[in-house]
Amino acid sequence: MAITFNPEDVAFARPLRERLRETWSSTIGALKRDPVLAGAVFVMLVGLFLVAFSPFLTRTDYTRPEPFLRLLAPSGDHWFGTDDTGRDIFDRVLVGTQISFLVGFSVTALSAIAGTAVGLVAGYNRILDNIIMRFVDALLAFPTILLALALIALWGPGLFNVIIALTITGTASKVRLVRSQVLSLRESTYVEASRVAGASSIRILVSHVMPNTLGIVIVLSTFTFASSILAEAGLSFLGVGVPTHIPSWGNIIANGQRHVQVAFWVSFFPGVFLTVTVLAVVLIGDALRDHLDPKLRGRLESTQRGDDE
């Protein structure tokens, strides 16, 4: 039987624009089929909108204390009520979106880049692998918040230190995942083929192995995003995260905790925003995982969980 080569049969030979259009239409299709997923994507879009425009949507000066407006219940003037210094909670919660998304995106991006790079090296070099993996095992023995608390105790509280502290543990879990992926990809036929064809190790790693670890890293990244938002809120709640003059969902909840007996709304509303955001990210992550590979389910959860809320 003669093998005929028809360029149109080969998926990667099609122009990028066509492939993008196909991805777009299949995404829209998935959203139409699954209204819960559509809701999750909508929540994320609203979140992004608030990140960009929330400072323009506020109706009060959300940083200035108003002693006469302390702990007012939700009303037409103050939809979510006011906190113990009379600041409008609705405005503070809207602006607090910025901190959560900033932490979420920074930690996710930094740990994905660092984790992929170190994971590729570990998966490829036996000697470095041993050293790196022992170190990763040891790092993962510490729960995220505990390690973050220890680092912040030294560096002092603050947004930047929170991001760095959370990135360190986020990176460790990605190194482990990328490395295991590299180990199995190394034995695959196409890697063998390109090695036979004379490609260098670095070329194989960067152009054949790395693209195939991307999917799994993206899925794990959604969990990192969700858990780092929760961790930031927890740290700010303990008063070692974002300073209180910058509204963050965690420090608004902390403000309300002191007055839970008389003013539950202070803690209630930022918590709802936090939960809904995390829920949306987790649902999107689930959908991505099922789309990429339904068999991944067990593996991802056993490497990721256990170090966050």
């Binding site: 608390l149 220890a150 030294l154 007996q261 918590g271 966050d308």
Partner: protein
């Protein structure tokens, strides 16, 4: 079996040592002089020198590291900078509240998680299944400290069923103790069980597809027997894994829970140490938690080998 346990123990040793190295070296990551940071802004040069000497910071790095690891090996956590008392003494009265919380939460979250997961797998595809999964996903996404505050508002402030805060030690009687721990235990167990539910369900669904389950059903065994005898054991490996991982998540939860409910445990001590920059206590807590979690993983591995003899080889 014993050979397997010994092998696992040997693999664990370098990780424990590295945990010690990381815990110790954190102090070196400090920007500038760690003694000055611990002392705070008002510390005089003499006080800083004193802290430096107390922590052994005036010695070379490797000697310090060796001293630190040696002390940890002997179970000596050093002296608190704030209270000037041995940390071992400070830890002792705080063990009981944390352990009590931990044991209750692990038991309740496992029972709740496996039970609901089994229910969900049994009723797969029905409304009950969907309700359990919504419950599980919500538990996954809800911040524990927020749920804790809400539970105080609903059950303690409004309904008055439990004290708002205030911890009763076991010495006050078992009932008083359990009552004062009820809200923190339930909140943490719910969050801890969320993942156990999901994993139990999917593990059991996978086993339910096996031929021998069809055989068991075909020979007329009751569903209850099929589930408890033929499904539970083969699906328990992923369940044990996730219960082990939950213990790690709980360590985080306790820091926040103990602060909110004013439980005088290790988590609360850690938060106090952080505001006081009492670094020896922070290091002690890091060691205790990390070594506990490594030990839990070791136990999980041994349970694997017990459940599935193939793993021993």
């Amino acid at each position: 079996m014993w050979r397997y346990i010994v092998q696992r123990l040997i693999i664990t040793i370098p990780v424990v040592v590295l945990v010690g190295v990381i815990t110790f070296s954190l102090l070196q990551l400090a920007p500038g002089n760690p003694a000055a940071i611990i002392g705070g802004d008002e510390a005089s040069p003499e006080q800083i020198a004193e802290i430096e000497h107390a922590l052994g910071l005036d010695k070379p790095y490797f000697q310090q590291l060796g001293d630190f690891l040696g002390r940890m090996l002997r179970g000596d956590f050093g002296t608190s900078i704030f209270s000037q008392r041995p940390i071992n003494q400070l830890i002792q009265p705080r063990l009981q509240p944390t352990l009590s919380l931990g044991v209750q939460v692990v038991i309740l979250s496992t029972v709740l998680g496996v039970g609901m997961g089994m229910l969900s797998a049994w009723k797969a595809g029905t409304r009950i299944d969907r309700a359990v999964m919504v419950f599980a996903v919500l538990g996954f996404a809800t911040p524990g400290f927020w749920l804790a505050i809400l539970s105080i508002w609903v059950f303690a402030v409004n309904l008055g069923w439990f004290p708002v805060i205030g911890y009763s030690p076991l010495g006050d009687g078992l009932f008083q103790h359990l009552r004062s721990m009820f809200l923190p235990v339930v909140v943490n167990s719910y969050l801890g069980s969320a993942l156990v539910m999901r994993i139990s369900r999917s593990a059991m669904l996978e086993v339910l597809r096996e031929d021998y389950i069809r055989t068991a059903r075909a020979k007329g065994l009751r569903e209850r027997v099929v589930f408890f005898i033929h499904v539970l054991r083969p699906s328990s490996i992923p369940i044990v894994t996730v219960v082990g991982a939950t213990v790690g998540a709980l360590a985080t939860g306790f820091v926040l829970t103990e602060t909110i409910f004013a439980i005088p445990g290790l988590g609360q001590m850690l938060v106090q140490a952080i505001t006081r920059r009492d670094f020896p206590i922070i290091q002690a807590m890091l060691m205790v938690v990390a070594v506990t979690l490594i030990f839990v993983n070791l136990v999980v591995d041994i349970i694997y080998a017990y459940i599935d003899p193939r793993i021993r080889y």
